[in-house]
């Protein structure tokens, strides 16, 4: 699965991986803004951004080709609108939609491929994202794999017993979703019990990141600065 691969990448040990998560989050933010505001005919800037992202990926020791292919998930959506643009006689806008969509996805993917989820969450918490939301996200991600596994097992079990008429299949799917729902509720209850058994009294322990060092600042400055310089010269 996609998330498993990105997670494996995120456990790398390169210098890029070692910077403070806040530095990588902010650098990605600046990069995304500068890419999102690129105007028409910025093909040179697009190429430079691509080089910047690819270069960083190589520095981070990531398999470049796999990363580049991974980022193409955005293309079906982008292509759809690009084709409409092109048909409306605006091929330049079509190209920009594709380029901006792809580069933005690549930038977000690069952040995830160099930042393990727990440290991303702690970075976001430092940036004052509500803790409650982050905790929900943490549990969501944790049990995503478990519940997807259950859904997969149920699907296989249903397939093994063959299907009937279409209308019945629709009802069966609803039954499966209903069972999955009830099981999820029961699992949430079981998790809550396990938490209470271990002394949980309504507060999750806060995560504790390392302090922001000057080298983190230098990385942020360099990455954001490069992105801004590319953007400035594109205009």
């Amino acid at each position: 699965m996609r998330h498993a691969r990105v997670e494996r990448w995120s456990r790398g040990t390169s210098s890029i991986h070692s910077y403070h998560p806040v530095a990588r989050i902010l650098a990605t933010g600046v990069l995304l803004v500068t890419i999102a505001t690129l105007g028409p005919g910025s093909s040179t800037a697009c190429a430079l951004y691509f080089t910047l992202l690819a270069g960083t990926a190589l520095l981070a020791g990531l398999p470049l080709l796999e990363l580049l292919v991974s980022a193409t998930v955005v293309l079906p959506f982008a292509l759809c609108f690009a084709v409409i643009s092109a048909l409306s006689g605006d091929s330049e806008q079509a190209a920009m939609l594709l380029a901006r969509g792809y580069l933005s996805a690549l930038a977000a993917l690069l952040l995830m491929a160099t930042t393990p989820l727990p440290s991303l969450f702690s970075g976001l918490e430092t940036l004052r994202v509500p803790r409650f939301l982050l905790l929900v996200m943490q549990f969501l991600y944790r049990y995503l794999i478990v519940l997807a596994g259950e859904a997969g097992t149920m699907r296989d079990a249903a397939k093994s017993r063959g299907g009937g008429a279409r209308s019945i299949e629709f009802r069966q799917a609803a039954g499966a979703a209903g069972v999955l729902f009830a099981r999820s509720f029961a699992r949430a209850e079981a998790i809550h019990r396990a938490m209470l058994s271990r002394g949980f009294s309504g507060h999750m322990p806060a995560s504790e990141g390392r302090p922001f060092a000057s080298s983190d600042g230098a990385f942020l400055l360099l990455a954001a600065g490069t992105a801004i310089i590319i953007r400035v010269n594109a205009a």
Binding site: T37, P40, V74, A105, V136, R171, A182, A235
Partner: protein
């Protein structure tokens, strides 16, 4: 429809971030104050359930199938506030981990699906007191509102929408809405058969407030839908009349930057400054709200067995 980055114009995504983030912040703060972290496992697992349930295919004839979207189902079972947070968490995980939907566009996607979508789904549920018609209409309306908002945001951002494309989109939305309504209805029925008591009938005292909020979201959505049905030029002229300096269609050919800070500046400078200033504004707004939340949080301890 998860909008990726690179499709919305700066004023659009920044405005949506500026609206969505404080609202989510306040809802999250209220959730934290009311339930502390006791409902965190439930909300996280139900978010995971929505992901997993989307793996289940619902056959709808001639080899095609649909799947549950789930915003309405969550609002019927967890209540609208919790549903909004769970949907936000789902969208954030999708954007970050799966690159499904943009990071800068997250505010727009959250607004469309987690806020307006949940509210629009909850309104018929309130009005019909949890009857079948309310479940069906709620789910269908939830999907319609989210989809129309996304379409409107794309159009306002100058993504071209020729009339035939619009017609096809609207048709697809209607079909998807009917499917979401039908799927949600049968799933709710299945849940009630397996174990009754999961559905949260709204408390009478909350009905008025919630109904009003949902109604406001619906009116907004309908307005957006009307925009969409107008010609693109119509949108621009309406916005101009309303004093909004919206980007014109075919904007990329325009010699003048659409969101200049100062016309004397070079366009690239004003653009990047505007972009960065927008991010800073969004950030400051969030920070202020976060401060307000942390300042007023003498959380009472409560055992939740």
């Amino acid at each position: 429809m998860h909008i990726p980055d690179g499709f919305l114009k700066f004023p659009v995504w920044a405005a949506m971030d500026a609206v969505a983030i404080p609202v989510v912040g306040v809802v999250a703060w209220r959730a934290q104050r009311n339930f502390q972290d006791n409902r965190v496992p439930l909300m996280g697992v139900m978010g995971a359930f929505i992901f997993a349930a989307q793996m289940i295919n619902f056959p709808v004839g001639s080899g095609t199938s649909g799947h549950l979207v789930g915003a309405a189902l969550l609002s019927f079972t967890l209540g609208p506030a919790a549903a909004a947070i769970v949907m936000t968490a789902i969208l954030a995980i999708q954007a970050l981990v799966f690159q499904d939907g943009g990071v800068l566009a997250l505010g727009a996607n959250v607004f469309n699906m987690a806020l307006a979508g949940v509210a629009a789904g909850y309104l018929p549920w309130l009005l019909f007191g949890g009857r079948q018609v309310g479940i069906f209409l709620g789910a269908a309306l939830s999907l319609l509102v989210s989809a129309f908002l996304a379409l409107a945001e794309l159009m306002i951002s100058g993504v071209p929408m020729p009339v035939p494309v619009l017609a096809v989109s609207v048709g697809l939305f209607l079909v998807s809405a009917v499917m979401e309504g039908a799927i949600t209805l049968v799933v709710v029925q299945a849940i009630e058969r397996i174990q009754p008591g999961f559905l949260r009938r709204p408390a009478a005292s909350h009905r008025k407030i919630l109904a009003f909020g949902a109604l406001a979201a619906t009116v907004f959505a309908v307005t957006a839908a009307i925009f969409v049905s107008e010609t693109p030029d119509g949108i621009v002229s309406v916005l101009r009349r309303a004093g909004v300096s919206a980007p014109s269609v075919g904007l990329f050919h325009s010699p003048v930057a659409d969101y200049q800070l100062d016309s004397a500046m070079a366009p690239w400078l004003s653009r990047s400054l505007a972009g960065l200033a927008g991010l800073v504004i969004v950030y400051v707004v969030c920070l202020v709200i976060a401060r307000m939340i942390t300042a007023s949080r003498p959380v009472p301890r409560r055992e939740g067995a």
